[in-house]
Amino acid sequence: MTQQFVTGPGHGEDDSAEDPTAQGGQTFASVQGSDDLLDEIDAVLETNAETFVRSFVQKGGE
């Protein structure tokens, strides 16, 4: 199963991924501005992802 439907660089071949600007103001500005956002994410993301993910241990709840 493909997970390539999201607009973004390099996924233009699927015909469901039309030009989002043509769809009437409901668009997620997925390309414009995403560089800034990704820069910010890189800046705040834990540096050692693997160690962090391993240490995220919870007990069951409910």
């Binding site: 997970q3 990704l38 069951g60």
Partner: protein, 560 residues
């Protein structure tokens, strides 16, 4: 039957609320590696106690409003409330560890089992001394001035929102819960000698553990429960296309790389049942209405995801309340409204739908049809749109967005990323993946999933999306901040919260359907068997001003 009779009551309006169990972690990496999950109970107590007990106001410091579990005797009064004399006096109010009217069985609360070992009162002293006392004594419950219950449930801090009547109010009290969690983190950070804590609004560690985000709705008692189950199973199995939070990894341990729509789906193994911690059912049959059980059932929904996108939370509450309203209207009028869809294998459908973010997967019905989640949801939305009371603004808005989002999701889920949380998260992950050329097994993607739910404003990736204007918001920061201290006006949470806010030293304890208020010449125990009783309009009509002098409040209550 007239159209008017049919539409009567099909709105989003009903008593509802959300309980959120937060993920809890040491902020410090070394403590995190050493402590593992075993420190979760201690950290949860610190989290709850920091908000419940560390107040600068000496009248509130070291003191909490105890939780009253209520009692089993049915209310005899047909008016829906009852005032009984209580012996409580302000000077007798000790901060007892044991909560009020604790049933001896079947209450999975730390407080219920806490042994009484030492002094009943929080010590005079600095913040660290009070917190140390709270952890040692397992202080695990408090009632906040917004009417919420704030407590330790198993190994998680939990915020159980005050009861509200609309989906938008539900968003507001849910946002208030996020702010309470943030306040707890800030307070613990500021105290020397206790660990700093990070709280997460998510549902799993992807190591087999899941913790819940439960919705509660009051529902008419006279609908046979079998019919409730039959109606809700296809709706619950498919609503995640709009209400899901998204999750990196598949399987309870995230053993298969990839992305799925719901954070909770993989933890569901049954169609209907009483359990919430194992063999989790799509429809939970727990039924303590905290209201007149002859009239009401409380539907306890455990299949929802924790969401931060306000639209996702709003639509989850609104859509579900509408399905229940349609179910009630069917029962009342004898006319079919909701689609009759019987899934051949509901549990398999929950997993299949969640595992397919392309939304093309179909699930079989008993009739031999193959339906997508979007088709199942559209059948519900259209059936409800045909009978709902569109003069109610929230009802019309929820139905309008429900149908619109189904269209957008069908075209391209990214188009719904300003309102649908899994679509927002997936868009973010896909652009990040593209930038760094990552495959789904890369731990940085799971890191993004976790940090999306990190409630520290400076760390939260959701906060980044919000600040960048990528997601719609429904409530202002100022409204959310006010909802931390002020209760909703629409339900009994108003009386509960306003009394606690105005007279913390006089409220001995409170629960969903009971408040014990102390006075100089004896107090009163007020039981409220209907969530509408005690609302701001109800109080105003009866001359009860919770902010007035406690003796005047007691006198007004006794005059009822």
């Amino acid at each position: 039957m007239t159209d008017a009779a049919m539409t009567a009551g099909v709105t989003t309006r009903r008593p509802m609320g959300i309980e959120t169990e937060f993920g809890v972690l040491h902020a410090d990496a070394r403590q995190r590696m050493q402590g593992g999950a075993s420190s979760a109970i201690m950290l949860s107590h610190l989290t709850v106690a920091s908000v419940a007990l560390l107040d600068e106001d000496p009248a509130r410091r070291g003191r909490r409003v105890r939780w009253d579990y209520g009692d089993e005797t049915p209310l005899r009064d047909a008016r829906g409330f009852e005032i009984t004399r209580a012996a409580a006096h302000p000077s007798q109010l000790t901060d007892e560890v044991r909560d009020a009217h604790v049933p001896m069985l079947d209450v999975p609360s730390v407080d219920a089992d806490a042994p009484v070992q030492a002094s009943e009162r929080a010590p005079e002293g600095d913040d660290a001394a009070i917190l140390e006392w709270a952890v040692r004594r397992s202080i695990g419950n408090a009632v906040l001035s917004n009417g919420a219950r704030w407590y330790v449930d198993h190994a998680h801090p939990e915020y159980s929102s005050p009861e509200v009547m609309t989906a938008r109010e539900g968003v507001l009290v849910d946002r208030a819960g996020e702010l309470v969690a943030q306040e707890a983190m800030r307070r613990l950070d500021a105290v020397d000698g206790v660990p700093s804590v990070v709280l997460y609004k998510n549902n799993t560690d992807s190591k087999g553990a899941s913790y819940g985000t439960h919705e509660n709705y009051l529902l008419a008692r006279d609908i046979p429960f079998d019919r409730v189950v039959e109606a809700l199973v296809p709706f619950f199995a498919s609503r995640c296309v709009i209400t899901g939070s998204g999750r990196v990894g598949r399987g309870t341990h995230g053993q298969e790389p990839g992305f799925q729509i719901s954070s909770r789906a993989d933890f569901f193994e049954n169609v209907v049942g009483l359990e919430t911690t194992l063999n989790r059912p799509i429809v939970n049959s727990r039924d303590e209405p905290h209201a007149d059980a002859r009239l009401h059932r409380r539907l306890h929904v455990i299949i929802g995801d924790a969401t931060q996108l306000e639209s996702a939370t709003y639509l989850k509450l609104g859509m579900t309340s509408l399905v229940l309203a349609a179910l009630e209207a069917e029962h009342r009028t004898g006319e079919e409204i909701l689609p009759r869809i019987e899934l051949a294998d509901p549990v398999a459908a929950v997993h299949a739908i969640s595992h397919d973010p392309t939304l093309r997967a179909t699930v079989p019905t008993r009739d031999g049809e193959q339906l997508t989640a979007l088709q199942i949801q559209r059948a519900h939305a259209e059936a409800i749109a045909a009978v709902a009371d569109m003069s109610d603004a929230e009802t019309a808005d929820v139905i309008g967005q429900w149908l619109e989002l189904l269209d957008l999701l069908e075209r391209d889920p990214a188009l719904a990323a300003d309102r649908v949380e899994w679509a927002a998260k997936l868009s973010l992950l896909e652009t990040y993946r593209a930038r760094h050329g990552l495959d789904w097994a890369d731990p940085r993607l799971q890191m993004i999933d976790l940090q999306f739910a990190d409630l520290r404003p400076e760390r939260s990736l959701y906060a980044k999306l919000r600040a960048a204007g990528r997601v719609r918001t429904l409530v202002t920061e100022a409204e959310a901040a006010e909802a931390v201290t002020a209760p909703p006006r629409s339900t009994r949470a108003h009386l509960r919260g306003a009394l606690i806010g105005a007279h913390p030293a006089h409220v001995d304890s409170a629960g969903w359907d009971v408040i014990t208020l102390a006075g100089e010449n004896g107090g009163a125990r007020i039981r409220l068997a209907d969530p509408a009783i005690g609302s701001a309009p109800w109080c105003a009509e009866r001359g009860i001003d919770p902010h007035a002098d406690p003796e005047d409040v007691l006198a007004a209550l006794r005059r009822l």
